[in-house]
């Protein structure tokens, strides 16, 4: 019985009693009615004892949580970490895709905003240009296997001035002229609703050293074009002649230069930088 009483007394003493803050309206705490919680008065020893109990509990729990956090992260194998971070890329992609709308356009700029050109990356461009033809392979949707640059140039011309964003963090405004990917699809597979039949597009350089994979929705976006002109001049080899992919929907690493082949597929294509630890989707 007396044990019980003791516990009750202890609890009562620690129950908050509301007090006010000093100095009336001169104190912001009073202006905003900040509550104040104080225990009943305690002796110094009692206060220290109560504080010690709380400290012990707080530091043990806090310390344990910190150790679990630090050592948990350290002991996590690289494979697990990779899975976790890669998995997050995929979750981020699903969220992006569910919010994606082909109607949402990237800003276009007036010609006076065009930046000085910048060359970055010669991957897949080391060999000589041997052919101006693009191989389009998908027997499921089209009989046509090879499209020449002349045929592409005969398709409706699209000009855009958009910002090319490098995954490194810089960006430049560039004027492009070329053919919408969706217009090319109309040409090689007239009347077909490509996004309904295919999920992905895979593009690669003629030497096969550089390859990118795209979700078909981003490929069919009105600002995704196959460009043959840059800043009013024909594409130069270092910028991806004869034909390169351009889109303000993804980072530069996805905008393949010197397209050799385009393949439509339902299995997710390999992606050069995706295999180096970058986000496969890399969508804006």
């Amino acid at each position: 019985m007396s044990d019980n009483d003791d516990i009750k007394t202890d609890e009562v003493r620690e129950l908050p009693s509301n007090e006010t803050w000093p100095a009336g309206r001169e104190n912001t705490a009073n202006i905003l009615n900040e509550p104040r919680e104080l225990s009943e008065p305690l002796s110094e020893v009692e206060a220290k004892r109560a504080m010690f109990r709380r400290s012990r509990r707080g530091f043990i729990v806090g310390g344990a949580a910190a150790l679990i956090g630090i050592f948990g992260w350290r002991w996590m194998s690289n494979e697990t970490k990779e899975m976790l971070l890669r998995g997050t890329f995929e979750i981020n992609r699903l969220i992006s895709e569910s919010l994606y709308s082909p109607k949402r356009l990237a800003p276009e700029f007036p010609p006076d905003k065009i930046s000085p050109e910048r060359v970055n990356g010669m991957l897949g461009l080391e060999s000589e240009i041997e052919s101006n033809d693009i191989y389009v392979s998908d027997p499921g949707i089209s009989e046509m296997r090879r499209v020449s640059l002349a045929q592409i140039k005969s398709l409706p011309r699209t000009e855009i001035i958009t910002e090319l964003k490098c995954i490194e963090g810089w960006s430049i405004v560039v004027q492009w002229a070329g053919v919408r990917f969706s217009d090319l699809m109309n040409y090689v597979a007239p009347g077909k609703n490509i996004p309904e039949i295919r999920d992905y597009a895979s593009l690669s350089t003629p030497d096969g050293k550089y390859f990118v994979g795209w979700d078909i929705e981003s490929m069919m976006h009105p600002q995704t074009i196959l460009a043959y002109e840059m800043n009013g001049k024909p594409l130069t080899p270092e910028h991806g002649a004869p034909l390169r992919l351009v889109s303000p929907l993804k980072y530069g690493i996805k905008q393949l230069k010197r397209i050799g082949a385009i393949e439509l597929t339902n299995t997710r294509p390999r992606d050069y930088w995706g295999e180096q630890g970058y986000d496969w989707y890399s969508g804006h």
């Binding site: 007394t9 003493r13 620690e14 908050p16 803050w21 001169e26 104190n27 912001t28 705490a29 202006i31 905003l32 009615n33 900040e34 509550p35 104040r36 104080l38 225990s39 009943e40 008065p41 305690l42 002796s43 110094e44 020893v45 206060a47 220290k48 109560a50 504080m51 709380r54 400290s55 707080g58 530091f59 806090g62 910190a66 956090g69 976790l84 971070l85 997050t88 890329f89 992006s96 994606y100 709308s101 949402r104 356009l105 990237a106 800003p107 910002e163 964003k165 490098c166 995954i167 490194e168 963090g169 810089w170 960006s171 303000p248 929907l249 180096q276 630890g277 986000d279 969508g283 804006h284």
Partner: protein, 233 residues
């Protein structure tokens, strides 16, 4: 001398405060791995570069170079945890009434100036305060707004096409990146001042962020209970 235990920080606030520390650390660390790939910002006065972010030795010391992919992976993982923690913290602060202890009022700026003068040993007396003084109210509210700013500028450079309106509002892609970077610098500055102030404030103050309580002097007219005195004997 009679004492009282004063409840300082609710359990939820303490957890979120401490969880935020590794989360912000990881956001800044992974942000540096990303920033290195296009390290273009500096402090300039009249065209003269005072400080470049960052000197080569800084990157080498922390082995930052050539880890862009890793930085992006970490940044786009921890961003969820950082944003979630911040969101829950804000909602908790709003609905629990804790905001009354945290936000400033217009007259806070006058009192905060006096706090600053006091901390600089220019004036002796501190203005009256609640749990936090008015300089703290301004700083802690500002750091929450900085967190909001980091999320907004971050989103605008993460999805500059889907959120093109937001990116334009912030002055365009490059300005948004610049703003995102400087918010990070402000976070580091806040952290430095915060740690120094906590060190100066002493052990009891630090302990209150772990236990939630502090021991304060009881007011003169509230004597300690006889029971409490009895235990002294």
């Amino acid at each position: 001398m009679a004492k009282q235990l004063e409840k300082k920080h609710p359990l939820a606030i303490r957890w979120m405060h401490w969880i935020n520390f590794p989360l912000v650390t990881m956001m800044i660390w992974s942000g540096l791995l990303i920033y290195w790939a296009n390290a273009v910002y500096s402090i300039r006065i009249f065209g003269y570069e005072l400080f470049h972010f960052f000197p080569a030795g800084f990157y080498e010391f922390l082995s930052i170079p050539y880890r862009l992919a890793e930085g992006l992976q970490l940044h786009f993982f921890f961003m969820w945890l950082f944003a979630a923690n911040g969101l829950i913290y804000s909602l908790y602060t709003l609905f629990s009434g804790e905001w009354r202890a945290l936000v400033p009022v217009p007259s806070s700026f006058r009192r905060a100036t006096r706090v600053a003068l006091h901390d600089a040993h220019i004036v002796k007396d501190l203005p009256p305060q609640g749990k936090y003084n008015d300089a703290q109210r301004i700083a802690y509210t500002a750091v929450i707004l900085m967190g909001v700013g980091s999320v907004i500028t971050g989103l605008s450079i993460y999805k500059p096409t889907q959120l093109a309106w937001l990116t334009s509002l912030l002055g365009g892609y490059q300005w948004a990146r610049w703003e995102h970077f400087w918010l990070m610098v402000l976070f580091v500055a806040f952290f430095a001042v915060h740690v120094i102030q906590v060190a100066i404030a002493g052990w009891a103050n630090f302990r209150s962020m772990i236990t939630g309580y502090d021991i304060v002097e009881a007011k003169a007219d509230t004597p300690a209970s006889p029971n409490a005195e009895g235990e002294l004997a």
